[in-house]
Every structure is written in C-alpha cells, then in structure tokens.
Symmetry: C2
Subunit: 300 residues, 2 copies
C-alpha cells in the first residue's frame, strides 16, 4: 500500500462548513485515475483546522468515494487524547491506514514524540505512516528517532520532506534513513518539486499534493521512476517547473486551491480562515502557468 | 491595565480533564500577591490544548478567583471562527481583555494575520493584547505589521518576545517598535530572562511566566524597574539566573510545572500529553536551583 503515487486531495471548506460533495468528487476522480493510494485529511486536506465530527464524516466520505483504492487518513492533533479519537474514527470509517504528524504548539522533545507514536500505535489495527513535515509541525526528526519509531508495531511507512536536489546527496539521504529502519517500512518523498529526484534516489512512494489535483501527470512521473526511466521522470518534473516555482512562492496549498477553483472542482473561498486564497496578482501568475502547461497535461 | 506585572498561571490538566480547583487557587494567589493583571490561558496556561468548553469554564473561574485584578484571557486558535467563539466566551465570562497569538499550522502571510486581528477586533467590546510569540506560533511580525495591527480599534498592548541582552540594543528595539504604534498602545516584554532588561529599556509591562508562580519576586523586580532603580531590578534578575538557565534548557512551561508540583500547588502529571513533565535528571537540577534560591525568595 505504501508504494507508488499517494495522492492528497484538498478538503474544500467554507467558514464553518465542509463541502462534502465536492470532496467526494475530488476523491472519486483520483480513484478513476488509478493512483496507488489516497491521502485524505493530510496537510493539503486541512486536517488541522477541522473538528472531530467533520473529520469523522470526511474519512467515511473518502473511503466511499475511493472505491478499491486504499485510503490513508490523517489523525494528527495537538493532544494525544485527540489523536487517539481521530484514529478510532478513521478506523471505524474504513481507513486502510492512518497518517500522523507530531503537531506542536509548545516545542516537543524526542521522548514526547516517541511516546506519542508508541501510545497511538498500541491502539491501532491498521498501519501508520509517520508524517515528517517540519514546515507545519516545527518538529525535526533525527534519523535515530525515525529508527526507534519505525520499529514500533504497525508503522508501515515514513513520509519524509523534500530530498536534496543533488542526485548523489538525495541517494545518500535515502540510504542513511533506510539503514536505520526495518526493511518492511517504506520511505515516501514529499515536497512535490523533489518527487522525481526522491523516487530516483530510492524512495518507494511519492506523497503528493499535485497528485491530488493532476493525478495523471503525477502517475506518469511515478511510473517512469518505477520502471527505472530517469529521463522521462525528470523531464516530466522539469515540465512542471513553473508550478514548482509557484509552490515555492505561495505554498502548495494555496496554489492547488487556486487551480482547483479555476478547474471548477471546488467553490471559492475553500480554505479555512485565517488562510486565504491567493491574491489577484498571484492568481494571474497561476493562470498563466496552467495555460502554459496545458500541452504537457494533454500528453498524460 | 497593560502596565506593570501581568502574571500567567499554569492550567493544571490531566489526560482529559482540567483541575479547576487548583487553577482557582493559582489565580487567587496572584490576586493576593497584588500583581497588576493576570493572564489566564496564555501559552503557560496551555490554551492551545483545551476544548472550547474547558476554556469557557476556565475563563469564568479565573475571573472569579482574581477578585479585583483584571484578567486577560487567551483566545487563540488555528481557525478564525474558533477565535471568534473564544472571544465571545471570554467576554461573557468577564475577561477585562483578551490576548491573541496568530497560531499557525500552514504558515500565515502578513495579510492573513492582519485580517485575523481585523476580524476579531471588529467584534470585541474589551481591549486586545497582540501576542507575538514566534517560538510557538512560528509567525514573525514585522514592525510594519505591528504598526498596522496596533492601529486597529481596541488594540491596547503588544506582548513582544525577549528584548536583546545588550541594554542599548534593547532600548533601540523598544524605540523602533514604539515609533510605529499609537501612543496609547503599551509594549510588554516576555521571555522572563529578558524582563529586567526589557522593562529598563522602556517596556511598560512584563508578561511573565514566573510571575504566575512566584509573584512576589517578580513584583519586586517590576517595581524596581518602575521606580527607575536599575541596580535592584538587574540584581533580582541576576539572582534568578539559575532559573533562567533551566528555562533555556527545558522550556519555561516544563520548569514552572515541576516547581508548582514540588510546591504542592498542582498535581502530577499536569501538562497536556504529548507534553510531559521533566525527566528525573532535570527535576533534580530544578530542585537544586529552587533550594539555592530560597534565601532570595524569602527576601520578597
């Protein structure tokens, strides 16, 4: 389950509500495209901003919409007690796996994070993906800590931040982590601009923001890397460079939100305030980039 | 209301519950000590980890326990809609002011933070303290943004992070910010080790973690700075250096939690998991430091 393309759809929200019908369609679209798994309620799915009840319902909607595609459900929260409740709800809703980032307000120690994973995995009946995302959690995993957590029962994969741009450095990064973790635990790259490099460096999976919106292009990139065709994988990633630049400037969430609006997949606004959609100038840049990418998208 | 010593008590919690009775006593103790205001549900009060209902009740308890001392209540949350609800509850509970930090999961833009404060102040009937705490919110205010927000109606004070250790640099820091904000908006320093330096550099208030536990010593420091007695203020701060070192090593929250336990003011554990109390080695260091400080505390 934790290999290939894992696609992370948006959760379209209004000020107080969630657009479950648009969310259903976003997930169903990924199933039809043939992605390897679907990551519901990831960072791109705004899990951190939603109530327990909203998350419980969305997990069920995702599983229904995903058909036979396995669904990973994000269970993160600031308190262990909330994480345990989200885990219970996700499993009851039919999640094939759960995804857990060590969200923080007060900075967490290594022991606190280890114990969080120990407490949660002790109660799980489905596998867990360790979600290493320092940009949102402000917690930095050491490889030593990754190794200890990966040895816990039911840990199936680690979602790591972007691998280094240099291919040799990327390979070393993946090998270094691999040496610390059990062989059944896969490594998945995130940070879409690093996806081709990460897969070619030996990552087993791509946990992908863009995959939640443009699954075909991301599948083409993933399949090329999987069949050991580095030129095709890199060339697809290079084609998408205008998008990677926008991700860097505005954050991937705001950019995919703007594109999804433009494609008519979600209404506007669709991000949880205080988060806002892109301002007009940025939207114009996104429109131009998407127009420029049309021939490339048509190919996949 | 936004001058002098503002003392921030702990909120003692268990895995799912809050010890309201211990919290009442912590707050009443600060009122008896004569602090200038009480900051309930600040970072030290673990606001970010509590439910709306817990926060609503704790605001009421704090106001009851505080007698005539004004109570500031923390209203932060990841979503604007939640912040508005907390503001409503705090005001209904009798808060004299509210305290708002721009909590984040996805990194926030300046415009998003400005609009958050604009949305919230538009609904308030009590003044608001802007809570600038990059260590927990991961948002960094520019002085330009501080100036725009401070000009909003009902903004009464800015709680800034530690001022620089060098006295001249500290004065420059405070003057720089002062030049950007309306004259009725006060500046309060936080980061307890910087308190004496911040007050002597011109800050109007000290938003204090240690003040929530040892109000007398902190009042002595504050009053010395207020009567322009830099030697006494600095010497009290220097006496407390062993504590400042522990704050740096373990975070002020975990250290005051351990001391409050030792003093019998709160039970154990009292922090919201995944946060944990200090491990034994650290507790031993804290015990030793507190024993060493006993003669100093006895003086105040």
């Amino acid at each position: 389950m934790f290999t290939g393309l894992s696609a992370f759809p948006l959760t379209p929200v209004s000020e107080t509500d969630v657009d479950e019908s648009a969310f259903f369609d976003l997930v169903a679209r990924l199933d039809r495209a043939g992605v390897d798994s679907i990551g519901a309620l990831g960072s791109t799915g705004s899990y951190a901003y939603l109530t327990r009840e909203q998350r419980r319902r969305l997990a069920e909607v995702a599983v229904r919409a995903a058909g036979r595609t396995p669904v990973l459900v994000g269970i993160g929260g600031l308190r262990t007690v909330d994480v345990l409740r989200h885990a219970e709800d996700a499993q009851a809703g039919g999640a094939s796996a759960v995804l857990l980032a060590p969200m923080s307000y007060q900075p967490l120690t290594d022991e606190e994070v280890y114990d969080l994973y120990a407490d949660v995995t002790a109660t799980l009946s489905v596998p867990l993906v360790v979600y290493d995302n320092p940009g949102t959690t402000h917690f930095t995993f050491s490889d030593e800590l990754h190794g200890r957590i990966a040895a816990l029962p039911r840990v199936g994969s680690i979602k790591i931040p972007a691998t280094p741009a240099d291919p040799q450095a990327a390979r070393e990064r993946v090998e270094q982590l691999r040496a610390r973790i059990p062989s059944h635990v896969t490594i998945g790259v995130s940070g879409d601009p690093a996806a081709a490099g990460g897969l070619l460096a030996g990552c087993d999976a791509w946990y992908s923001v863009l995959g939640g919106l443009w699954p075909q292009a991301c599948l083409a990139l993933t399949r090329a890397a999987q069949r050991d065709d580095p030129d095709t994988a890199s060339s697809i990633s290079d084609d998408l460079a205008p998008l990677w630049e926008l991700f860097g400037d505005y954050g991937s969430l705001r950019v995919v939100s703007a594109i999804a609006e433009q494609m008519g997949l979600v209404g506007a606004p669709n991000l949880p305030r205080p988060l806002q959609g892109l301002p007009d100038g940025a939207r114009h840049r996104v429109d131009q980039a998407v127009r420029g990418l049309a021939p490339i998208l048509a190919r996949h």
